[in-house]
């Protein structure tokens, strides 16, 4: 099987006739070799290859190294670098205002797991249509390497301090809370991350993607469980992911029984080949036990952990009119004089 959407060499534009430059952003100011930059590259690739109109995308983030990255991709899109841990609420408001936009939120492990855990929890619960990426390096980069809540028990900081608290597994939490697309990936696994991002693009609802992304400056040493080499050695892909976008013909051969096929919201298809017998991405309980099992072995299960493609999202729940709320004209949102008269009469 091959990823059907890898661009044909020499092909300069995508299906909406944009070239890759329309998906790039400003020059990164993160450290050379930072995993976050690799994620940025994959986001650019995924949006380019999917032929997403960047004018129909909004980029949102909290505060931290991760949250700077929306400035480094999709320059033609509006972006909002907001408040530490509060990207979910800003994203919620923006999506409510204009449900037609494709929203991508970038957060970090501190931004999500510590200061922002409350908003994270409630966003997952609402299943807001949003691609929620955690660029997860287990530490606070901008403030020089303190542990974050996703740091593993026993992991060693650069200054020698050993982490003595068990981590929060953001994926298990997201599955538990109601997110309808939950994945974990590794910034060093280009192919898997690209497939996951493209599938997230085709999903309607919250796509929560925890991407382990080593911090080359503060958390890439011996003793760290988030170093590049440690993650590479302990990455346990759940199986090959084949994503076929809605605008391409399905040309994938797979063995019945060993592969799960999923039809995504926009008509794209996902083929997930199993490695482990217990892997069932449509079973919430199985997905959570898989995460517990692999964590117990000191491994990172990566891939699409859980997917529920037909779940109602928050916009469905609110029964919004078709036109974005932001653009409703005055005559649609200011009731006539008769309404005021009726209310006044009720108060007499």
């Amino acid at each position: 099987m091959s990823d059907a959407t890898v661009p044909v060499p020499g092909k300069k534009t995508n299906r909406i006739n944009l070239d890759a430059s329309s998906y790039r952003g400003s020059k990164t100011t993160l450290c050379a070799g930072c995993g976050h930059n690799a994620i940025t590259e994959r986001i650019i690739d995924a949006f380019f290859e999917m032929g997403v109109d960047p004018k129909q995308v909004i980029k949102l983030s909290g505060i931290g190294c991760s949250s700077k990255s929306p400035a480094y991709f999709l320059n033609p899109s509006h972006g909002f670098n907001s408040v530490h841990g509060r990207m979910p609420s800003v994203a919620t408001g923006a999506v409510l205002a204009n449900k037609n936009m494709l929203a991508i939120g970038v957060s970090g492990d501190g931004d999500t797991g510590a200061i922002g855990i409350g908003q994270f929890v409630h966003l997952m619960r609402r299943n807001l249509p949003l691609i929620y990426i955690i660029e997860d390096n287990g530490c606070y980069g901008l403030t020089k390497g303190q542990f974050s809540p996703t740091a593993d028990l026993g992991s060693k900081a650069k200054n020698g301090v050993v982490n003595d608290l068990a981590p929060i597994d953001t994926c298990a939490l997201a599955i538990e809370l109601g997110a309808s697309f939950v994945a974990r990936s590794f910034s060093g696994d280009k192919k898997q991350l690209l497939s996951v991002l493209k599938a997230a693009n085709s999903h309607r609802g919250t796509s929560m993607i925890d991407v382990i992304s080593p911090c080359v400056t503060f958390n890439d040493h011996e003793g760290s469980t988030k170093s590049y080499s440690y993650v590479k050695d302990h990455d346990e892909p759940l199986g090959e992911i084949s994503f076929v976008p809605f605008f391409e013909e399905i040309n994938v051969e797979y063995e019945a029984g060993s592969t799960t096929s999923v039809k995504l919201h926009d008509g794209s298809s996902l083929f997930l080949r199993k490695v482990a017998a217990e892997y069932n991405p449509s079973d919430r309980t199985a997905a959570i036990s898989l995460l517990h099992e692999t964590a117990r072995r000191g491994e990172f299960a990566t891939g699409i952990l859980y997917i529920e493609p037909d779940k109602d999202d928050f916009i469905d729940l609110l029964n919004l009119v078709d036109q974005p709320l932001a653009f409703l004209p005055q005559e649609k949102v200011r009731p006539p004089q008769a309404v005021l008269d009726e209310i006044m009469e009720s108060l007499r």
Partner: protein, 618 residues
């Protein structure tokens, strides 16, 4: 019966003429006992008789069991602020009955549950013992329902004692009961039962009575939170995010009712709005900012503790220039303070809310109509100025019942502010910068996602005119100076102060918000009792317009009346105005959690003494 006590007769001898349409009634009950219906029926029936009224609920932070007091003031001159003295007490709460009775002035009247034997406490009051349990047993055979109708009996008793027409009470009861004929019949029985028992057993001994007038014709009775909700409805709000908190909750909850009724799209049956009960106030304002940034008219409503939580986002909105409408229904202090009592004590902290150099636009409604119109103003100003606008209401305005003329239908179209459309994009071309002041008013043009207009990256203070990241000192200064210029522009757009009285006298009063009504009454007291004429400027917004400084300049001494301990309005005035003027200002402060009353203002002004600078304080 107490009426036979010689001491009461002595009291009565001194009463003289009847007191018509000028008294206060206080009803002391237990929270959760269903007294609200009885109290509103009483209020509404007096209102329906054409007599100006106001109703103030003094309630505890509790669901059921703690004492609660409801005060109704009837006044033929139209005074609606709290009257300091209670003239007529209805003592239904055994826990507070003693204190309630002991706090009355001599000669006042009290209706009470007979077993309380309150007549034993004082001999200088007019006592009306009423056997409520006996009456309720007669009018309500079902013992389980008696608790619910017991309170209506005092309405019947007062109907007799105060000459409130039973027909008006019935009409008011119908308004409260709506389409519930069974409940209506039961309550009417109790109302009549109470009236009949009183007519047969209680000779009229007190001087207070209601007589029909025509001073409420065409008016409505409404709470400020409902008025504000109406404002939001007609302002075309599309995104509402909120978190429950007293005394704010009834604003979004009333709004939800209106939106579901009046804002469903006729063709599709779908909602032209999104309302989210957020996980906390931080998320509520975050949602408002996200929605406003994307072009929606968005709002939240809260009270002091919620405002505190919103601090960081308020600062970001100031610097990133994102519109937002935030209602602060002010109350006293922290959640375990007096959360159900009123105050104007968030003024200073909200004007300067958040970190860094920030200033925020505050609107200061004083009436039901202003709760309505300023809600609409708030959305226009927030979008025009691209910043947070706080509507500073309070518990007294928001949750109490006030009279108002019917609200005018808005004639002014929405002001959606400087948003790039296709024509503007062509005009500005590549020279467009998100934070570039092309019009000289400090307000730059913004673009909205999804419109095809050029995008920008939104962040806090570290940006140049083109919204690119920079930490250059000169760019930062330039940006901050432009924000100050924008705040100057706000002075030309916010509601101007109202010169309520201009008699060319040397003494002036400045007040705002719910204090207004007590100030007007106090000004009458000062004129009628000591011949002191005062001028009065009612401030309606921050930043101050030049008229505020002019007013102070024209007066030798200016009393600044407000409901907080530290003279927060006076501090803001000192901060922003010519320092030479600040010695003219004297604070009149009220901060006991009760709505301000005229008598306290009058007393404070008299105590502050003459215009002699030597006696100035503040």
């Amino acid at each position: 019966m107490s009426a036979t006590l010689p001491s009461t007769e002595a009291v009565l001898a001194g009463q003289g003429a009847p007191v018509v349409n000028d008294f206060s009634i206080q009803i002391a009950t237990v929270n959760g006992s269903g007294s609200q219906t009885a109290n509103l029926v009483l209020l509404r029936s007096i209102f329906q008789m054409g007599v100006p009224v106001s109703g103030k609920n003094l309630f505890p932070s509790n669901i059921a069991g703690l004492p609660t007091w409801y005060t109704i003031r009837a006044n033929h001159r139209g005074y609606v602020s709290r009257k300091k003295e209670i003239d007529f007490l209805v003592a239904m709460n055994v826990e507070t009955a003693r204190d309630d009775v002991m706090s009355l002035d001599p000669g006042r009247a009290v209706v009470y549950d007979e077993p309380l034997k309150l007549n034993a406490l004082r001999s200088d009051l007019i006592c009306y013992p009423v056997p409520f349990d006996k009456i309720v047993a007669e009018v309500c055979p079902d013992a389980k329902l008696r608790r619910l109708v017991k309170n209506i009996i005092y309405d019947g008793v007062l109907s007799h004692l105060l000459s409130i027409e039973l027909g008006e009470m019935e009409k008011a009861l119908g308004k409260q009961m709506g389409k519930k004929p069974k409940a209506m019949a039961l309550n009417m029985g109790a109302l009549e039962g109470g009236r009949k028992w009183a007519a047969d057993n209680l000779p009229k001994l007190d001087p207070y009575r209601v007589a029909r007038m025509n001073k409420t014709t065409g008016q409505v009775l409404v709470e400020g939170n409902a008025a504000a909700a109406m404002g939001c409805l007609f302002a075309g709000v599309t995104v509402v995010a909120w978190y429950p908190i007293t005394p704010s909750s009834s604003l979004p909850e009333t709004l939800i009712g209106y939106m579901r009724k009046y804002r469903m799209d006729k063709e599709t049956g779908k909602a032209t709005f999104a309302i989210v009960q957020a996980e906390d106030e931080i998320a509520a304002i975050g949602m408002v900012l996200g929605a406003s940034w994307a072009g929606a008219r968005a709002m939240t409503s809260t009270s002091g503790p919620g405002i505190s939580l919103m601090s960081e986002f308020a600062g970001l909105a100031y610097y990133a220039e994102v519109p937002a409408v935030v209602f602060d229904i002010q109350r006293v202090g922290p959640s375990t303070g007096l959360p159900t009592r009123t105050a104007q004590a968030d003024l200073l902290s909200t004007a300067l809310h958040s970190h860094g150099d920030t200033r925020h636009v505050l609107l200061l409604p004083a009436s039901m109509e202003e709760c309505y119109t300023m809600s609409m103003d708030a959305f226009d100003l927030a979008e025009r100025l691209q910043t947070v606008v706080f509507v500073m209401s309070d518990l007294d305005l928001g949750m109490n019942t006030w009279m108002a003329e019917p609200f005018p239908y808005p004639t002014k179209p929405f002001d959606r502010g400087k948003v790039l459309d296709a024509a503007k994009v062509r005009e500005l071309g590549a020279s467009w910068g998100r934070y570039k002041d092309v019009d000289g008013d400090g307000i730059a043009w913004r673009s909205l996602p999804g419109t095809g207009a050029p995008a920008y990256f939104t962040r806090g203070s570290g940006h140049n005119e083109m919204a690119q990241y920079t930490e250059r000192p000169d760019y930062y200064v330039k940006n901050l100076d432009r924000l100050a210029r924008k705040f100057d522009t706000a002075k030309t757009l916010v509601p101007a102060p109202v010169l309520e009285a201009d008699t060319k006298q040397p003494t002036g009063i400045i007040a705002f918000g719910s204090s207004h009504w007590a100030v007007q009454e106090s000004r009458d007291q000062l004129r009628e009792e000591i011949g002191l004429d005062t001028d009065y400027l009612r401030v309606r917004a921050y930043p101050f317009t030049p008229a505020v400084e002019d007013f102070i300049r024209r007066h030798q001494r200016v009393f600044v009346v407000e409901q907080n301990r530290d003279g927060q309005m006076l501090s803001l005035l000192r901060m922003d105005l010519d320092p030479a003027l600040s010695t003219r200002l004297t604070s009149v402060l009220h901060y006991n959690g009760l709505p301000i009353d005229a008598r306290s203002i009058t007393a404070a002004i008299l105590e502050a003494g003459s215009l002699d600078p030597a006696t100035r304080r503040g």
